[in-house]
């Protein structure tokens, strides 16, 4: 099983992602520079967090024109599992691989904390092993994480089972006090209609070992490897 980690100028979660896969999961991870044009040999892709292109214009807006994004789009359209984390989530919405947009936090402050998310859907390769309602403790670090869709689009996402994570308290209850950025519907992560492309603001790749504060991110990162292995579709 080989994970590809896409690196843009300004990415800063790339090494966390590589280490989480290698040390946390014991799987192979390869770094893919944004100037490359192929993701061949990869079974899953991680788009890491950071500030690609300095967040110029809008977070993720310029990264989507990087040469590698054609290959990412092709991989995603072929059903390959793609996880966008934080800035990676922003890039995937700008590339229209995921619905919605991410705006400046409601508080106007950068938030850096450990929070809880409630898993809402188990139909993605990253959440397939988790019952809806499962609570994961993960770190967040972002200034532009306020998920936005219109009310109509929100109803559509809910009807299509595209809401994957919501911010919650430790018991899995959703309320405004535990919505760190004022996201619509307390949404922390969504998927595309097919379910193979997932984006979330929290950082599972920074939660891969108890000594760094938690290891619950491995449940997401590892699930995709086990899903592909079970399905017999691992290419590497």
């Amino acid at each position: 099983m080989r994970y590809g980690v896409i690196i843009f100028p300004g990415s800063n979660g790339d090494h966390d992602a590589l280490k989480a896969v290698e040390l946390g999961l014991g799987e192979e991870a390869v770094a893919i520079w944004h100037k490359e044009t192929t993701v061949e040999g990869c079974d899953a892709l991680l788009i890491p967090g950071g500030f690609s292109y300095g967040d110029y214009l809008r977070a993720g807006a310029i990264a989507r024109f990087s040469p590698i994004m054609d290959a990412v789009t092709e991989f995603a359209n072929a059903g390959g599992p793609v996880l966008g984390i934080c800035n990676g989530f922003q890039i995937l919405t700008e590339a229209q691989l995921l619905p919605g947009a991410l705006l400046r936090n409601g508080s106007l402050s950068f938030v850096c904390d450990w929070i809880n998310v409630r898993v809402e859907s188990d139909r993605t390769p990253f959440t397939a092993e988790l019952d809806p309602g499962t609570v994961l403790r993960l770190p967040i670090a972002h200034g532009q994480g306020r998920y936005f869709v219109t009310e109509d689009q929100l109803s559509e996402l809910e009807a299509n089972d595209q809401v994957v994570f919501r911010y919650a308290d430790a018991r899995g209850e959703v309320h405004d006090d535990h919505n760190p950025n004022a996201s619509v519907g307390h949404i922390a992560g969504v998927c595309n209609e097919r379910g193979n492309v997932v984006g979330l603001m929290p950082h599972p790749e920074r939660a891969y070992d108890a000594t760094i504060g938690g290891d619950e991110g491995l449940q997401l990162l590892g699930a995709v490897a086990r899903q592909l292995t079970t399905a017999g579709t691992v290419r590497a």
Partner: protein, 98 residues
């Protein structure tokens, strides 16, 4: 034939497109709210609302005002704005002839 080419090239000119980008009215704008509150705390009690946004100046070459408008509209749809959350308007000024 060469006269026609001259006629066409004569109308090509530079335009300054000023692009004003703001969050759609349905989208909460905490930055605008914070600025509004700042103005009110300075004593400008008459301030009713502030919306924050972005201002971009694009200089481009075009055949006509219509051509310039449609080029800039395409740029706004594809990159300069995110239609999910932002709206925009453009003010166009012809610059010197080529």
């Amino acid at each position: 034939m060469s006269a026609n080419i001259d006629a066409i090239s004569a109308v090509r000119r530079s335009y300054l497109a000023e692009v004003f980008v703001s969050l759609k009215s349905a989208v909460n704008d905490p930055e605008g709210l914070a600025i509004r509150d700042g103005l009110r705390s300075l004593g400008y009690a008459q301030v009713e609302a502030v919306r924050a946004g972005k201002y971009l100046r694009v200089t481009l070459d075009a055949e006509s005002t219509d051509d310039a408008h449609s080029q800039v509209a395409a740029m706004c749809e594809q990159l300069l704005t995110n239609p999910v959350m932002e709206s925009y308007h453009v003010a166009l000024t012809p610059l010197s002839d080529h």
